[in-house]
Amino acid sequence: MAAQPKAIPAEYPSYLKGDPISWLNTIDHKRVGVLYGVSALFFMMLGGIEALLIRIQLFEPNNTFLSAHVYNQVFTMHGTTMIFLVVMPLLLGFAANFLVPLQIGARDVAFPRLNALSFWIFLSGAVFLHMGWFWHHGGLPDAGWFGYANLTERQYTPGMAIDFWDIGLLILGVSTVMTGLNFFTTIVTMRAPGMTYMRMPMFVWSILVTSILILLAFPPLTVGLIFLFMDRFFGTHYYQAVAGATPILWQHLFWLFGHPEVYIMALPAFGMISEIIPTFSRKPLFGYPMMAYSLILIAFLSYGVWGHHMFATGMGPVADATFAITSMLIAIPTGIKIFSWIATVWGGSLKMTTAFYFALGFIVEFTIGGLSGIMHAAVPIDLQQTDSYFVVAHFHYVLFGGVMFAILGAFYYWWPKVTGRMLSEKLGKVQFWLTVIGFNGTFFPMHFLGTWGMPRRIYTYGSGMGWTFWNQFETVSAFILGFAFLLMFINMLRSLRDGEIAPADPWDARTLEWSIPSPPPAFNFVTVPSVSGRDAFWARKYGTGSHGAAAVASAGDPPNGEAEAIHMPEPSFFPIVLAAGLLLCGLGVVVAWWRLIMAGGVILFLSIIGMAFQYPTFGQHTHETEAASGGGGEDLRKVGLWAFIGSESVFFATLIATFMVYKSRSMGGPGADVLEIPLTSFSTFILLMSSLLMVLALAATQRGDKTWQRVWLAGTVLFGLIFLGDQAYEFTSLYHHGLGFTTDLFSQCFFTLVGFHGFHVFIGVVWLSVLLVVSFMDRLPKSRALSVELAGLYWHFVDIVWVVIFTLVYLMQKVKGA
């Protein structure tokens, strides 16, 4: 895309330069990353204080420092905060956002505004979670981060706390899925020329796999939260043991998300370690293909192991055995990673920095966590250890000893790149040793407490249980750990105030982000680099790639007269406004104040429209920064939309699965026989034909035939409206047949599933109507056929979902269960 060369400023100002307001409308991936990082650090302090409160309460038996109610809030928020507001934003929001484009040689992520939107939605979700604090009947959520139904039902937990938790997590889920979509598309389509999949830095690999995990793991959680919302607000019975429903459904949906979630947190940490260790060993990563493949294998297996959180629920021996075996299998790729890291260090020329300390600490601590994990895959042992402090020890070794050590290592490793200043190594090493002592002192004794029968989530314990000494030991260690974090904050502040200025490449590192100044300029690369091997920057510095291939450098300084014009997308205030609207809307729902819902809704709607029309090219924000297309030549928007469709497939599969499970358990009510086949056959026909009109509209656009483009688009919209009208008629007549929303399990699942499909049709109709308007404005020429194609893809997807629903729900109505 060689537009005419544009003058490039002689000096490239750092991305950090700019007035404070520019942080609110920024869409620069580095700034969004920093925003994520700062908020996550704030929540880390909050979560840390919550952890210390827990430890103080457990210091001695029968302690009354916190009441039961407050303790339950504290441990719930400690878990929720650390997972959703600290680890995920640090890994994905901050690290991936900052590093992925730099490591693949791109100028930004695929959808920069979506990226900013993710952050602001994340922040509003985070605020939302804590909002109950301000209401008399609110309080913080207190049902555990796992929120097991039916304790979360209004009957057992009245008040607004769980409402805030439920909607807060939904909002955070939206933000995370957007992030996943963004990184997936970025990595698939925007890698620098020559950077094949097998040449990507391992951190990029880990983010790619993590994004896929996010896209496919969050839908079940979303569905579960929607069901909970309906139970609490509309009186359905998704999780109550009346009318044949079961609270176990929540556990399945939650852990279908929850276990992949563990890897959503662990894989980026693996990626970071795989960057730090080679740099400081001055050796290429050992067994690169195996490392990449083990990431994929872990991701794939992680969908087959959620049941190991539920061994105690009585799933039956076959299910138990199946989940046990798949869980054990995960140990194999994990073991491969551990040994490969050690082999990377082996024979290296080690540079013992703080970052490397943490990476080495990670190997040992994570191994301990992984090994106790194997115990939990062995069902009988798990039945003794689950919900005891042994499990608390296990996952803190994984999430703190593993993930947090990696984050701390990464913090010391990439800080110079982010801020342009060096941290104090001396203070860093003190922090490392205090962390090691505090961490092991806090969590290792939990293994003993667990085997001695101390259950989790208890706010107090009796004095004769033999648990007192180690609890006191842990509390003291926890404060040492807290002090270590205090040192980190001191180190940060010192570095920001008068730290040593960081050079571009302080560690003699291997990947592309170190080839540009610290901190990087707003557009990252003056010239998009060209890559011909792994460890591209190392190869450029030392002449040979890790495979002996001579790497050709081109980044750094513009070659003569070949400089590309650098157009960065314009900043936008819409993301922050949109997120505020979402926040108001959610708040309105919880406090049941419709005016607030309306106000939030209007803001939401206007900002979406505003966003769509913000660029003159109308939603077709052309990436002039797009370096190369690795997506098999596909446009990045198309890749993004397909990834979204993949995520939606899992969403609908979850709804359909729930429908089929609950249909066979439904009692009373008129049952499935009331569904009318002739009517829905007509609807099916209409929807299929609308798909035909849609492709014809696309074909007309590709021919540049404006008249037929409008005719076919209008036809599609019309058919969509007929379908919706049909559905409205069907619902009304079902209601008159006595099938209300909450009549029985069948009806609630039916209306939810078909209603959500109808909602998707509605969104499609709105999307197509906008296209129609644009078409009449004469702004939909041949060159923008892709806009029509994208709307079409969504439309056809809604169509194939209907194909499945028509068969499984309507035509198989006589089939009683599976």
């Binding site: 895309m1 537009a3 698939v188 896209l215 496919l216 969908y303 799933m315 039956g316 021996p317 076959v318 299910a319 052309t622 002039e624 997506g631 098999g632 030549g633 596909e634 890749v639 469709i645 993949g646 497939s649 899992v650 609908f652 599969a653 979850t654 359909i656 699965a657 089929m660 499970v661 066979s664 086949i677 056959s681 099916t684 026909f685 034909m689 798909s691 035909l692 849609m694 492709v695 014809l696 074909a699 590709q702 041949k782 060159s783 923008r784 892709l786 194609e789 056809h796 997807f797 169509d799 194939i800 194909v803 499945v804 028509f806 068969t807 499984l808 198989m812 006589k814 269960g817 599976a818």
Partner: protein
Amino acid sequence: MTAEAAVHEQFEQHVHPGASVYVTVAAFLVVLTALEITVFYVQALAPVMIPLLLILSAAKFVLVAGFYMHLRYDSYVLTSIFGFALVIAAVLLISLLLLFTYLSHHLWFAVPLARILLPGH
């Protein structure tokens, strides 16, 4: 290369089929739907209804995804994205059905398994 030319080039690479193919596919879709409804109403087909309906709707699914959504013509990357998601979705659906219907209420097949695994028990 201008943006327009880039888009143009893209469509030259992935040649999409013309209207006649689309109409043919639509005809197939209608016929398949008619068949489905027939299967529903014909009593004699009741024993094989489930597999028949599943095959018919799978065929419709493949037709729409392959032709209208152009997976047949576009890069493998897109097919892989969708295919992987579908596999996960199918795994999820089938395993939830199994967990709730077969596994939690009926233990008949546990008896032979237990006998095999515990010869001395």
